[in-house]
């Protein structure tokens, strides 16, 4: 059957569609052909797939072929089965007939004959040629068609349809398509069954010797092809998958040594996407196929189907794994394949897959996950391709051009060398080829880093081992032979000896000094340069693709290709969100850019890489890339970037660079800082210079105090570094805007490691502060550091994601009283005397060292300069016990006695001993008051106005570290006289002698001793009896304890004469008291301070107190007396009853002419009475004559009538002309008289008064009913109407109103009217 392979291929290539056979019974096809073929491809078909599930296929292509066609006729039945897929899927019988007889006799038997072949799926199309206008013909056609249907259609299946040439029915084409589809479906099912049966039969033989894979393949692929024709791509794909599995099984199990293939020219170009690359007949081998070609063939078909299914993603993913596995297979057969065939194939395969899938892939169609995955695969493919390309480039001697980065090393150093059976030899004509190698690149900053390996093992050894002529000798043999080379390449093997020699070996010079030397000796191991040349030539033979050859021809081309691949990989990785892969490849792009001198791009890419590594904290990797970035920045003259790169380099783990390298970084920074920088740039050195406050409690300061803050600064520089300035900001925790800036005074030298730097701290606002930013200058470079670490320069990046614990470094407490000044005395001091005022200076947890007290006395107060100021420790009574108890050591200080201080310009400096303890300052002052104190007349002592005798003293205490704290206080001091004097006339004699009692109230809290007292009397008074006016001296001295009183009696009499002579009238009497005082200054008033010279006499020194008293002459007697005479004998006054009131006016003494201006004896009188209560008859006002002689009297009587019952004031007699002071009244004040209500017998109604007084409405009603009752009783008897007197408003309203309704037999009389009457 394998012989059919070629035929199978041709058949496959010729038929691409389903075939529908047309049995043209009545020669109709030419007429209907066009209209039939117009219907192709079929719009919509429902087919069954392999698992018998319906599948809808759209636009199914097909072809109508006449059965008489040569294509269908010339077939052997054998072939028919094998290539059944090309046989017609349906047979369409075209008939026409216009006559029933004809149908019966001719057509029917003929059709029966055609139809009897069961194998075919057939159906009949009856073509009616009858013109619609021709009714007869139409009818006939209908009849014939009906007959036909009866004959051929069954209930199960319609096998007929009618086609009208002159206008087919509307649904004819749909019918036709349905019929055809039914046939196709059935045929497919049947053939599928057949193929499956065949395949199953063959599969059973799989492990038998007669098993032939080619046969299996033909069957399987036929089936697949059939599916493909029917557009059932899924099923076709499945067939191919199964085929692949089966093939791999065959390959793996088959014990027979098979040819692998891949030896033809052009095989190095992957054909994994080219289905028809090689005819199958070429690759058949025995009963199977060559692996190399056949696997590609299978994959090509699979990918073709996948593309048809629009699944480029799957092509890529299958392609990737296919390439990997195929590469392995290539590796197994590497010895028979051309040199580096594997690498070349992978490169081409990857590129082919990438290009094909990329062109098929429409972005945005797939779900995002798939899209990402697709790009990742693309990236993987590119990356794989790139690795292989690098390997080739290395092999032909461009190893030095390859960046020895981690990614390249990882890719290459574990990738084994190609293992050809025999390493290629240098062709003779290539001996003169030479490529001059540049020296290896030197890393910036002179970093000596062992370069990463790009080779799994030393190439020279590997190559020489595989040389046919050289027996695969032991390594020792190799080493021996190496010694003779004397060239740099010789050390290649001994690479492990030292990094420097290794570095040398890397250079791999393709130059060789002795060109003609090696040709002759075939046994001699090849030099590295020779290996490269040999490899290049071998590769040229391997590679058939000119593009590929060109790509490897020169360093520029290699670089270009390398860039393309790297960019492709990087872009795709970025699109797939594999940022790490992508960014790493960006770094490779940067390396190439750097080499090409495109530093701008290089720097950008390097920055990306560095950002990634730094962001994720992979320092080892960062250390590899960062120097390159720095170098780029240096070349670009990007000072800011360069500096920050240097700083970052310095801040990497110390182990990553040697000390020398780190020093180089630092010197770069320093030299740049001191050079001329056009634009001084701020530099963030947070990772390098970190700082923290000292551990422990934060520095606590009082508000307004300066201080010093010491901060630990860690320097990550390897050497000492001089900072020209250093300042630190403090950030207030309460408000981010607040904060101060501290400046370190001098330039600092930071040692590596911890340094302690002290900052002077100006006064800060209250609150707690944390460290902010450290800034400083190195030369012209401004740097700043944001980070502060807890214990040392730890990796700041690690902590970034966590909340920094900000520990306050400084606490400035809220303004609080730091000191208290208060007066030590609680009670008043003596005025006008030198008094000590005590001022208690009490420090409150604050030192008063160096404090200065400014004293400013207010008006009326004067410091006695003659006395010095005294200071002593203050011992409060209630605190003294505890003080001594708990401060044993301080007791010595407590006993500090008086210290004399002097006042300079109103300032006192505190002594040192007073800095921490409460002290008291005694200041001698004198309050001055010119006013004489005044005594008051009898009664309790009036409160003296406090303000009058108050003085203030303003104190200002400057203290604190630099006298920055100021405490102001104004202390009020009360001064007072020792006594308050009140006087009283104790008694008065007829002879004008007065006994004057003087009461002394002690005003101070001190014992006063009255030694002497005398009165200087004012004019008009003279001392009675003795002339000196002193009280009885036997009682003196008189002691007066605090707040007590004492009295002195003086007898004074009215006198005159002496005073009138003197010019100066003394209006006040002066009380002089000579007294002594015994008080303590801590309490209040005390003996006045005296100058030191008088110290001894101070006790005997008496003080004089003077107080003014005003004595008044006694007042004159009244000259008239008015007496209210008693009422008439019965003493009863009744309302309405006239009564005569009498007053007696008597002249008590002569009226002096001066006092009473009118000399006549007429006296004006006036009677005043309440008109509501009294009705006065007669004159109210008038003159009566009264003799001016003493004792003359007259009576004044007035007739009046009380109007109101009760106690009322009687009328009052006044004398308007005479001053009230001269009238003595009897009774003195107003008095009341009792007025009785009128008699019951009278017609007055008592209720009237009552109702009048009470103003009660209920009484009014009572009153009215009362009146009504009276009217009824008096009905028979004649009588006068009752007169009702009342206030109009209350009464008239109701009785009057009532009277309108009912006669009450009364007259209402208003009360006022009675008065008028």
């Amino acid at each position: 059957m394998a012989n059919y392979l070629a035929q199978f291929q041709t058949i496959k290539s010729t038929c691409a569609h389903l075939v529908i056979a047309v049995e043209d019974v009545s020669d109709l096809w030419p007429t209907v052909k066009n209209s039939f073929e117009e219907q192709l491809p079929f719009k919509r078909a429902s087919l069954n797939n392999k698992t018998r599930n319906p599948v809808f296929v759209e636009n199914l292509p097909a072809e109508f072929i006449l059965t008489t066609d040569a294509r269908l006729r010339s077939r052997f039945p054998q072939e028919q089965y094998l290539f059944w897929f090309r046989e017609p899927y349906a047979t369409l019988v075209l008939v026409t007939c216009e006559d029933l007889d004809e149908f019966k006799t001719i057509l029917k038997p003929r059709l029966k004959l055609i139809v009897q072949n069961d194998e075919r799926e057939w159906f009949i199309v009856f073509v009616s040629r009858a013109h619609p206008s021709n009714d007869n013909a139409t009818k006939m056609a209908k009849k014939v068609y009906a007959k036909l249907e009866v004959e051929f259609s069954s209930k199960k299946r319609e096998r007929c349809c009618k086609f009208d040439v002159h206008g087919p029915e509307a649904n004819f084409w749909e019918d036709l398509e349905a019929r055809i589809m039914e046939c196709v479906r059935n045929t497919l099912d049947r053939r599928l069954q057949f193929y499956e049966e065949e395949i199953r039969k063959l599969s059973e033989q799989r492990f038998m010797p007669i098993w032939n894979f080619c046969n299996f393949f033909i069957l399987k692929e036929s089936l697949a092809f059939m599916f493909e024709m029917a557009h059932l791509h899924e099923d076709a794909l499945r067939e191919y998958d199964e085929l692949e599995l089966c093939y791999l099984e065959t390959v793996n199990i088959g014990s027979k040594r098979r040819e692998f293939g891949g030896l033809d020219h052009g095989d190095d170009q992957a054909a994994l996407l080219l289905p028809g690359n090689k005819p199958l007949t070429q690759i058949v081998q025995d009963d199977s196929f060559r692996e190399f070609e056949f696997r590609q063939y299978l994959f090509a078909y699979q990918s073709k189907l996948l593309f048809k299914l629009n699944r480029p993603f799957e092509v890529a993913s299958r392609g990737y794994s296919f390439i990997i596995s195929f590469s392995k297979a290539l590796g197994l057969h590497e010895s028979i394949l051309p040199f580096c065939m594997r690498e070349v194939w992978v490169i081409t395969a990857c590129l082919a897959v990438v290009n094909a899938t990329n062109s098929q892939y429409n972005e945005g169609n797939a779900p995002p996950e798939i899209e990402r995955e697709f790009y990742r695969l693309q990236g993987d493919l590119y990356s794989l391709c790139r690795a292989k390309f690098l390997r080739l480039a290395y092999l032909i001697g461009y190893g030095t051009e390859i960046e020895r980065s981690a990614v390249n090393s990882a890719l290459l150093s574990m990738l084994p060398w190609p293992k050809p059976a025999v390493w290629p030899l240098v062709p003779d004509n290539a001996a003169s080829e030479m490529i001059l190698q540049e020296s290896p690149r030197v890393k910036p900053f002179g970093i000596e880093r062992k370069p990463l390996a790009l080779e799994p093992t030393a190439l020279i050894r590997e190559a020489n081992r595989r040389r046919a002529s050289l027996s695969a000798g032991s390594s020792s043999e190799m080493l021996d032979s190496k010694q003779s080379f004397g060239d740099g390449s010789a050390t290649d093997v001994s690479s492990k000896t030292s990094p420097s020699s290794k570095a040398q070996a890397i250079s791999m010079p393709r130059t060789y000094s002795s060109a003609g030397n090696f040709e002759g000796s075939i046994d001699r191991p090849m030099k590295l340069a020779e290996i490269f040349v040999a490899a290049e030539h071998a590769l040229k033979q391997t590679i058939s693709n000119p593009d590929m050859q060109k790509a490897l021809s020169s360093i520029q081309d290699i670089e270009q290709k390398y860039m393309d691949l790297t960019k492709g990989a990087a872009d795709n990785y970025h699109r797939s969100w594999w940022k790490r892969h992508g960014v790493v490849l960006d770094g490779e792009i940067a390396a190439v850019c750097f080499k090409r001198g495109n530093f701008d791009l290089a720097a950008k890419s390097y920055e990306k890489v560095c950002a990634l590594y730094a962001g994720e904290g992979w320092q080892d990797l960062l250390a590899e890339v960062l120097p390159n970035l720095a170098e780029c920045q240096r070349i670009l003259n990007d000072q800011a970037g360069y500096l920050s790169s240097c700083v970052r380099l310095l801040s990497l783990d110390k182990g990553l660079f040697s000390i020398k390298e780190r020093q180089a970084f630092q010197s770069e920074v320093v030299s740049l800082a001191h050079s001329e920088m056009k634009h001084p740039v701020p530099l963030d050195v947070s990772s390098l210079i970190s700082f923290s406050g000292n551990p422990g409690a934060p520095l606590e300061l009082c508000d307004g105090d300066p201080g010093t803050l010491s901060v630990a600064v860690w320097s990550g520089f390897p050497d000492d570094i001089t900072l020209d300035s250093l300042s630190l900001t403090l950030t207030a925790t309460f408000n981010a805007d607040e904060g101060g800036k501290l400046r370190s005074s001098s330039s600092n030298v930071l040692k590596p490691g911890r340094n302690t730097i002290t900052f002077p701290l100006p006064p800060q606002k209250p609150g707690s502060y944390v460290l902010g930013v450290l800034t400083g200058h190195i030369g012209q470079l401004t740097f700043r550091s944001h980070s502060f670490s807890k214990a040392g320069p730890t990796d700041s990046d690690d902590f970034m994601s966590y909340e920094k614990t900000t520990r306050p470094i400084l606490k400035v407490s809220k303004p609080r009283p730091l000191v208290d000044l208060s007066a030590a005395i609680s009670s008043a001091l003596l005025i006008n005397e030198t008094q000590w005022i005590g001022i208690i200076a009490q420090p409150i947890d604050y030192s008063l060292k160096g404090a200065v007290l400014h004293i400013d006395t207010g008006p009326g107060l004067k410091i006695e300069e003659s006395h010095s100021i005294e200071m002593e420790t203050y011992r409060s009574v209630d605190h003294s016990s505890t003080d001594t108890a708990n401060s044993g050591g301080a007791r010595k200080d407590d006993n500090k006695g008086l210290e004399q201080l002097s006042l300079l310009d109103g300032k006192i400096e505190f002594p040192d001993w007073a800095s921490d303890m409460t002290s008291i300052l005694w200041i001698p002052i004198r309050a001055i008051d010119d006013k004489l104190s005044r005594g008051s007349s009898s009664g309790p002592p009036r409160k003296q106005s406090i303000v009058d005798r108050m003085r203030t003293i303003a104190l200002k205490l400057e203290f604190g570290i630099s006298n920055n704290q100021i405490y102001d206080k104004t202390i009020a001091l009360h001064f007072t006289d020792p006594f308050h004097v009140s006087t009283r006339v104790a008694d008065q004699y007829n002879d004008g002698t007065l006994l004057l009692q003087v009461t002394l109230h002690s005003q101070v809290k001190a014992t006063l001793t009255v030694n002497d007292a005398w009165l200087d009397l004012q004019d008009g008074f003279i001392h009675a009896g003795q002339s000196d006016g002193r009280p009885v001296s036997a009682f003196l001295p008189l002691e007066i304890s605090p707040n007590s009183r004492a009295g002195l009696l003086f007898s004074v009499c009215l006198g005159k004469g002496t005073a009138e002579d003197e010019i100066k009238l003394q209006l006040e009497s002066i009380l002089n008291i000579r007294y002594g005082i015994a008080g303590v200054r801590t309490i209040g008033a005390h003996p006045p301070a005296v100058a030191k010279s008088n110290d001894t006499e101070s006790t005997s020194h008496d003080l004089i107190f003077r107080s003014a008293l005003i004595l008044q002459r006694p007042v004159l007697d009244p000259c008239l007396a008015v007496g209210f005479l008693p009422l008439p004998s019965n003493g009863l006054l009744r309302v309405g009853q006239l009564v005569t009131l009498k007053w007696r006016v008597e002249r008590l003494k002569d009226i002096e002419e001066t006092k009473v201006p009118q000399n006549n004896d007429e006296v004006l009188y006036e009677v005043n009475a309440n008109s509501d209560n009294w009705m006065i008859a007669g004159r109210k006002r008038g003159h009566v004559s009264l003799s001016t002689k003493q004792g003359s009297r007259i009576f004044i009587s007035v007739l009046c009538m009380p109007l109101f019952a009760g106690y009322v004031h009687p009328p009052h007699l006044g004398l308007p002309d005479i001053d009230e002071a001269n009238i003595s009244c009897n009774p003195a004040g107003p008095h009341l008289v009792c007025i009785l209500p009128p008699d019951l017998s009278s017609s007055f109604c008592p209720v009237v008064a009552e109702s009048n007084s009470n103003k009660s409405q209920s009484h009014c009603h009572l009153f009215q009913s009362f009146l009504a009752r009276r009217r009824d009783l008096l009905k028979e008897t004649p009588h006068a109407p009752l007169i009702v007197i009342g206030r109009p408003s209350q009464l008239r309203s109701s009785p009057n109103a009532y009277q309108r309704l009912e006669d009450l037999d009364m007259h209402f009389l208003e009360k006022k009217a009675t008065a008028v009457a």
Partner: protein, 147 residues
């Protein structure tokens, strides 16, 4: 059998907080960086893979020539991103790879317990470098035991 193995614990933000070369083979000088590079790149895969499975042990996720990256990610329940990733790089001989995978799994489990102990230390700031020498010795002992 000589093997090289590199073990790295990466924190939530992909920052390596612990690394150890625990292989029995003589250490290549450039290996540390290389291994770091490979493991770093493997984080790309972890980031994708961690969302697809609920298992903590992600098995061999990447193969870099002879080196196999095995990863275990932690704490990815409740839809949170993994807080810790453990990358492991080994080059197992093909025949023993299965047993080795079991070994790695147990190794991961035990190291995870150790890590939790570290995490419980109040003085340890989560996400910072693990500098405990005790942890280091324990990890190395575990590596000898299982690998």
């Amino acid at each position: 059998m000589t093997s090289t193995a590199c073990f790295i614990i990466a924190s939530r933000n992909d920052i390596p907080i612990y690394e150890a070369e625990v292989g029995s083979a003589a250490k290549r000088e450039d290996a540390a960086q290389l291994h770091q590079f490979i493991l770093h790149a493997a984080l790309d895969i972890v980031q994708d893979l961690a969302w697809t499975t609920s298992a903590m042990f992600l098995k061999a996720i990447d193969r870099f020539n002879d080196l196999v990256v095995t990863t275990r990610s932690r704490n990815r329940n409740k839809g949170k991103a993994p807080t810790i990733k453990v990358d492991f790089l080994t080059n197992p001989p093909v025949t023993q790879s299965l047993t080795l995978e079991h070994g790695i799994k147990s190794f991961f489990q035990e190291v995870h317990e150790l890590y939790i102990k570290i995490l419980l230390n109040p003085l340890y700031l989560p996400g910072s470098r693990i500098t405990s020498s005790h942890f280091d010795t324990k990890v190395r002992a575990l590596a000898r035991k299982y690998l």
